[in-house]
């Protein structure tokens, strides 16, 4: 998922950085004080998840967890993923500083898309079956959409879109399934242990 430095054209890099800035701005505006710690923990989870290597499939891939961040944090996934990716670039040399904008966009926007597509099901009141199903779909689709976005980034730089996107998506099929399962498991756990996290925003005082 991490695009290396020196692969993309400057136009793509600048566009990615601009859109990411906008996304991070929206995320920070929606941020409540009470959500800062959970955002930090999810950001740390995202940071570490990239070290979990999934050996299946044709290429070297790892967990991303962007779907999980999306359904729990909504727009706040943007700053959380930006922090995680910056540290991955600085400490692990994954991706790079110039590609930070594009990489954040490629992972955070799909997270927000799954939040809007499947967030309705991941509510405390939802039936268990629907709850787990939508959580699975959110985790899996975030990876799928990320793969397509990486394909688009390469396409705008001059690579043929279909082969590039097909390769990325195919390589990530095992991760999609795994992340779907993980997202569902995490969401089910949170529903039991800390339901207020799942509402997308902190429940107002009266509801507690």
């Amino acid at each position: 998922m991490h695009i290396s430095e020196g692969v993309l054209s400057p136009a793509v890099l600048i566009a990615g950085a601009a859109l990411t800035t906008a996304g991070v701005g929206i995320g920070l505006r929606k941020l409540e004080t009470e959500e800062i710690p959970s955002m930090g923990i999810l950001s740390a989870a995202f940071f570490v998840a990239s070290l979990v290597h999934v050996p299946a499939g044709p290429a070297s891939v790892h967990l991303v967890l962007n779907g999980l961040l999306g359904v729990i944090l909504g727009w706040k996934a943007f700053p959380a993923i930006l922090v995680g990716l910056s540290l991955q670039a600085l400490l692990f040399q994954y991706g790079g500083l110039t590609t930070l904008g594009v990489n954040t966009l490629n992972m955070a926007l799909p997270a927000i898309i799954s939040y809007y597509l499947f967030g309705w099901g991941i509510r405390v009141g939802a039936k268990r079956f629907i709850f787990a199903g939508t959580a699975f779909a959110a985790g899996a689709s975030a990876i799928l959409v990320s793969g397509v976005f990486v394909g688009f980034s390469l396409y705008f730089t001059g690579e043929a879109f279909l082969p590039a996107a097909k390769l990325v998506v195919l390589a990530h099929v095992p991760v999609m399934l795994l992340e779907g399962g993980l997202t569902a498991a995490c969401a089910l756990f949170l529903r039991r242990a800390k339901p207020e996290l799942l509402e997308g925003h902190y429940v107002p005082k009266s509801a507690m």
Binding site: G6, I41, S43, H53, V54, S60, H62, G84, A193
Partner: protein, 224 residues
């Protein structure tokens, strides 16, 4: 203060949950174990007149059928080829200058390795120019003591088996290359080490530090 008051009724539950999530992060960290992922690297070395390159993802997988492009230092493309099943690609030295080898693996991965000019010009070649270089070398004073150390009988023996100085040189180079290959491979392996545990913990520490800073400013804003 007001923040603390609002959270108080929920403290035990929230805290246990946060501890659980923290534990989950730590578990993830240790699961990571041997399979570090997601960086691609290329390593190139010269053996005789051939440049060997070895590439891999930091998960240990080898990029198969990926493009390797060779440039000179001015960025002109000299040749390109595909890696084999083991992520290796070899080519004849195209010109005796420093070379830049770039690996373009799929999915936007790119890695580069520079071969300095000394490494390439130091390599013997079976062409006329390099053999003449070696002849010149034998005439230099540094080479003279070598013949002095060897007894005259040995020198005679060498000539009687019909081995010229150049052939001996080539033989030595060949066996040295053979002996050095495992070391070169080891170097290649050690070059692309995965992230160390200290870096992982450092990164998590940074994130928690950022949370602290954010909470500090949030709390200060509320107090005003």
């Amino acid at each position: 203060m007001c923040l603390k008051a609002r959270c108080n009724p929920k403290v035990p539950r929230t805290r246990s949950c946060n501890v659980f999530m923290l534990l989950a992060v730590v578990c993830l960290m240790f699961c990571a174990g041997p399979g570090w992922a997601h960086k691609v690297s290329i390593f190139a070395w010269v053996e005789g007149d051939t440049v060997h390159t070895q590439s891999k993802f930091s998960g240990g997988k080898r990029p198969k059928n990926s493009t390797v492009v060779v440039y000179d230092m001015d960025g002109n493309q000299l040749l390109e080829g595909k890696t084999n099943e083991n992520g290796e690609f070899s080519f004849k030295v195209p010109q005796k200058t420093a070379l830049k080898v770039a690996l373009k693996a799929s999915m936007g991965h790119l890695a580069e390795w520079t071969i300095p000019a000394e490494e390439i010009t130091g390599a013997p070649e079976s062409t006329e120019t390099s053999s003449s270089e070696i002849v010149v070398e034998t005439a230099t004073p540094e080479a003279a003591p070598v013949t002095d150390i060897k007894g005259p009988a040995e020198v005679q023996g060498a000539t009687s088996t019909g081995l010229s100085r150049r052939e001996i040189q080539e033989l030595i180079d060949k066996s040295l290359d053979k002996k050095l290959t495992p070391i070169v491979n080891m170097l290649a392996d050690s070059l692309d080490r995965g992230p160390r545990i200290s870096e992982v913990i450092g990164g998590i520490g940074y994130i928690f530090g950022l949370v602290g800073v954010a909470l500090y400013f949030a709390a200060r804003g509320k107090r005003k």
